[in-house]
């Protein structure tokens, strides 16, 4: 209980399990747990997005997620667990999950919000939209790659 903040950060190619994240932040002294799950919205487009493909600079993404978790943990007295999927993620499945627990709910909400906001802002992870018509588009600030042969 008094051992200080716990932070877990994970990159995974499998489905995210919210229960695992919640279990990672359990603490008898923490009365509030907040989770965030980010899911690909199917109706983005047109053309419709059928899946995303995530790529990361893996060691730095993990380190950055841990650093972000530790910021929230220290600022809010929270435990934090965060996981991000890599590789293909079908539309409708979760690509990122965060759990944060704290003694009281304002701190748990703030910690969870900090972690997801900063992961999206800072972690070196990129997504590629894969459309129903087979086209793909990286979301990385560069103009679309010219399609070969056109």
């Amino acid at each position: 209980m008094a051992e200080g903040p716990r932070v877990h950060a994970r990159l995974t190619r499998g489905a995210l399990a919210l229960d695992d994240l919640v279990a990672g932040v359990a603490d008898e002294a923490h009365g509030a747990t907040v989770t965030f799950t980010g899911t690909t919205r199917r109706e983005q487009g047109p053309p419709a997005v059928v899946r995303l493909e995530y790529e990361a600079y893996e060691p730095m993404a993990r380190a950055e997620m841990e650093a972000i978790g530790l910021e929230a943990a220290r600022r809010y007295g929270a435990h934090v667990a965060a996981a991000h999927r890599l590789g293909p993620v079908p539309a409708g499945e979760a690509s990122v999950g965060v759990a944060a627990s704290a003694a009281h709910r304002p701190a748990a909400f703030a910690a969870c919000r900090h972690v997801i906001d900063e992961i999206k802002r800072r972690a070196p992870i990129w997504k590629q939209d894969v459309h129903a018509d087979g086209t793909r588009a990286w979301q990385d600030g560069l103009p679309p790659v010219p399609v070969p042969g056109t």
Binding site: M60, K120, R122, P124, D140, L142, P143
Partner: protein
């Protein structure tokens, strides 16, 4: 007059696809700043303007474009991210 250095450049996402590999070996003048690496990438990348918000990591830690490279360094070019 100092000897050139060999550095490794990590690229991701559409930059990786344009380069055709996740890693590029470059021989550069000693003390080349990190921010100049883009201009040494193979075509067609170096003709593109680097995207606004491009960040840099050096040997696994964030760095600034003015950092001087040394022999054996590993630089990562971090395009604007889109995780989540």
């Amino acid at each position: 007059m100092t000897a050139p250095i060999d550095v490794s450049v990590l690229v991701f996402a559409s930059l990786r696809e344009r380069v055709g590999a996740p890693r590029v070996a470059l021989r550069l003048p000693a003390a080349t700043p990190v921010g100049a690496v883009w201009d040494h990438l193979p075509e067609p990348v170096r003709s593109l303007p680097p995207p606004a918000g491009l960040r840099y990591a050096l040997n696994g830690s964030w760095t600034l474009p003015g950092a001087a490279l040394r022999d054996g360094d590993e630089v990562a070019l971090i395009l604007p991210v889109s995780g989540g």
